[in-house]
């Protein structure tokens, strides 16, 4: 079987980040997953975690510059891994950093790039990626000809875990050319870190203009916390100042595909639906019985979210599972 490079983005504590399971799982569907990472020094516990997630090889570029030099250590490590491993594809989780790293690598390695795949497979010797485009209204299968396929993966799209393996470990001292890289001057852990990240959350509770006020928007946060969900918002709610723009879901803003999406006071304009209609289960509460959000909701309640949500919270609190 051919080698498949699985890029491992590290978390703040230096261990494999939340995307490691997904990228190794996706790689195992195409060939032998080789975990590739840039780190100040490769630890035994990192190797152990990657082995448990199915890495048949671990390839580490070691440099002290990982925390001060933006992305160049990662891109250069991947370029070295491509030379050494001759992989059939490189997979990278589509995060803010991941896609910039993948883009630079695709150019440096004279490859081709497929962005935001929700499935990958081998077909007639080709690596085929499936993407959902235009807000999930079309599904497109594509491949890369005459070059290395570099594929970014939509977070949350790959379920399950590859079988544990005993990886062959390679680490090399990395020489990093800092001239073509930005410097990292500071890092502040997210203030909202008790909630899951909106892009990758399994559950999202989002609020819209129908909530009428910033005070009522607190219900969104309370229900999110009760469900262990991330907080989202429609553009109208952001424009009304109910919440910061980082929570915006839709065509401009974040696209999400969680297990559960709860829309409170969101009418469901086409721009909003484009960012959430691939969610597995959609629940909507809206006063307007004709709101388009009901056309895609698995469970719709015509009513006032500010009445229903407090009762739901109460019912959840007293519920005996």
């Amino acid at each position: 079987m051919s080698n498949i490079v699985a890029f491992i983005e590290l978390s703040q504590d230096g261990g494999p980040g939340p995307g490691a399971r997904e990228v190794l799982k996706a790689a195992s569907q195409l060939g032998d997953p080789i975990a590739v990472l840039a780190t100040s020094s490769l630890s035994g516990s990192t190797v152990g975690q990657l082995a448990a997630l199915g890495a048949k090889g671990v390839f580490a570029g070691e440099t002290e510059l990982t925390s001060s030099c933006l992305q160049e250590p990662e891109v250069e490590t991947l370029a070295k891994a491509v030379q050494a491993l001759d992989p059939a594809a490189v997979l990278v989780v589509n995060t803010t950093s991941g896609r910039e790293i993948a883009a630079r690598l695709a150019v440096r390695a004279s490859g081709g790039l497929t962005a935001d795949a929700v499935a990958v497979r081998k077909q007639d010797g080709m690596v085929v990626a499936t993407r959902l485009v235009l807000g999930g209204t079309y599904s497109v299968d594509s491949t890369v000809e005459d070059g290395l396929p570099v594929i970014t993966l939509r977070p949350g799209a790959f379920e399950g875990q590859a079988r544990p393996a005993e990886p062959v470990v390679t680490s090399l001292g990395l020489k990093v050319d800092t001239r073509a890289a930005a410097a990292v001057e500071a890092f502040t852990p997210g203030a909202d870190s008790h909630r899951p990240d909106l892009r990758t959350a399994e559950r999202v509770v989002a609020g819209g203009r129908g909530l009428l006020s910033k005070e009522n928007f607190v219900l969104v946060e309370q229900l999110a916390d009760a469900l262990g969900a991330a907080v989202g918002a429609s553009r109208a709610a952001v424009d009304s100042g109910f919440i910061a723009s980082g929570a915006q879901v839709g065509q401009t803003g974040v696209s999400v595909s969680p297990e559960l999406y709860v829309a409170l006071g969101i009418s469901g304009a086409v721009q909003h639906r484009a960012g959430m209609q691939s969610s597995k289960t959609i629940v909507a509460i809206n006063k307007d019985a004709d709101a388009p959000i009901f056309d895609i909701a698995d469970f719709g309640i015509v009513g006032d979210a500010t009445t229903v949500v407090p009762q739901l919270l109460h019912a959840m609190a007293v519920r005996t599972p």
């Binding site: 939340p18 896609r99 883009a103 695709a106 497109v140 890369v144 997210g190 990240d197 803003g253 297990e259």
Partner: protein
């Protein structure tokens, strides 16, 4: 300082957008096309610097069919000094790799201290062109900035990265990309619209950049194998609430699906 802003014309997101299921290409109805909102924000970042720093030159650069001139005119009416339009029949259906190579070549030919672009377009949403352009130019990318800053020697700003916020900086020349959290774009003034018609727009063909359809499409082509319309979702159960009565049913629905 000379700033090149990469701008893109995209289908208006308030209209339904369709793909040609034969070619996999976006059906671009010239009437429904607009300057991408994220391009407007990128331009705004450049224009604010120009407002406070005399002698700043802002050039809007686009690649696209002849109709993309409309997007350039909008950029000029907002305040860009001139436009560059790379148009060539060989570019039809260009993927991100190809597009970035052409944009990088056009930016080099024009000359710049800083390239500013949106982090992702509202049609492609791939978010890879800024980093590809930077790599072609062998320049640093200060990418996905929520709060971009420009000084005489460097560019900097904050970027969200899942676990927190990073402050990043690079010396000029550099490539910067901005998110929808950056500057809110201005509206063109009446005077801006009038003067835009007199501003220069340079038309550039591939050959003038030393490129041809054959050279830019040799390695790493994305090839579409099949396109399918995804079955639309249909609404499920819909109930009317009376003073919160629906809460119990909703909880049962969530419990049934193991979502509690």
């Amino acid at each position: 300082m000379k700033i090149i802003v990469l701008v893109k014309q995209v289908p208006d997101t308030s209209e339904e957008r369709t793909l040609d299921t034969e070619s996999g290409f976006l059906e671009r109805d010239p009437q429904g096309n607009v300057l991408d909102e994220i391009s407007e924000r990128a331009l705004e970042v450049a224009l604010r610097h120009k407002d406070s720093h005399k002698g700043t030159e802002v050039v809007a650069l686009t690649m696209g069919p002849s109709d993309a001139l409309k997007a350039l005119r909008k950029a000029l009416s907002m305040g860009a000094d001139s436009g560059v339009h790379v148009a060539d029949d060989a570019l039809a259906g260009a993927d991100a790799m190809w597009t970035s190579r052409v944009l990088a070549a056009a930016a080099s030919a024009e000359g710049f201290d800083l390239v500013i672009t949106g982090n992702e377009s509202t049609d492609g949403k791939c978010g890879v062109v800024p980093a590809m352009v930077a790599e072609h130019l062998r320049l640093p990318l200060v990418g996905s900035l929520d709060s971009p800053g420009i000084s005489a020697e460097s560019v900097s700003g904050r970027r969200e990265c899942g676990t927190g916020t990073m402050t990043v900086r690079a010396g000029l020349p550099a490539v910067m990309s901005v998110t929808e959290r950056s500057a809110e774009a201005r509206f063109p003034t009446f005077k801006g619209i009038l003067t835009a018609k007199k501003k220069s727009v340079k038309n550039v063909a591939l050959a003038e950049l030393g490129l041809s359809g054959a050279t830019v499409s040799t390695a790493g082509r994305s090839v579409i194998l099949s396109v399918a319309r995804v079955e639309g979702r249909s609404g499920g159960r819909k109930i009317v609430d009376h003073n919160g009565s629906a809460a119990t049913e909703l909880m049962e629905f969530l419990a049934d699906r193991q979502l509690l």
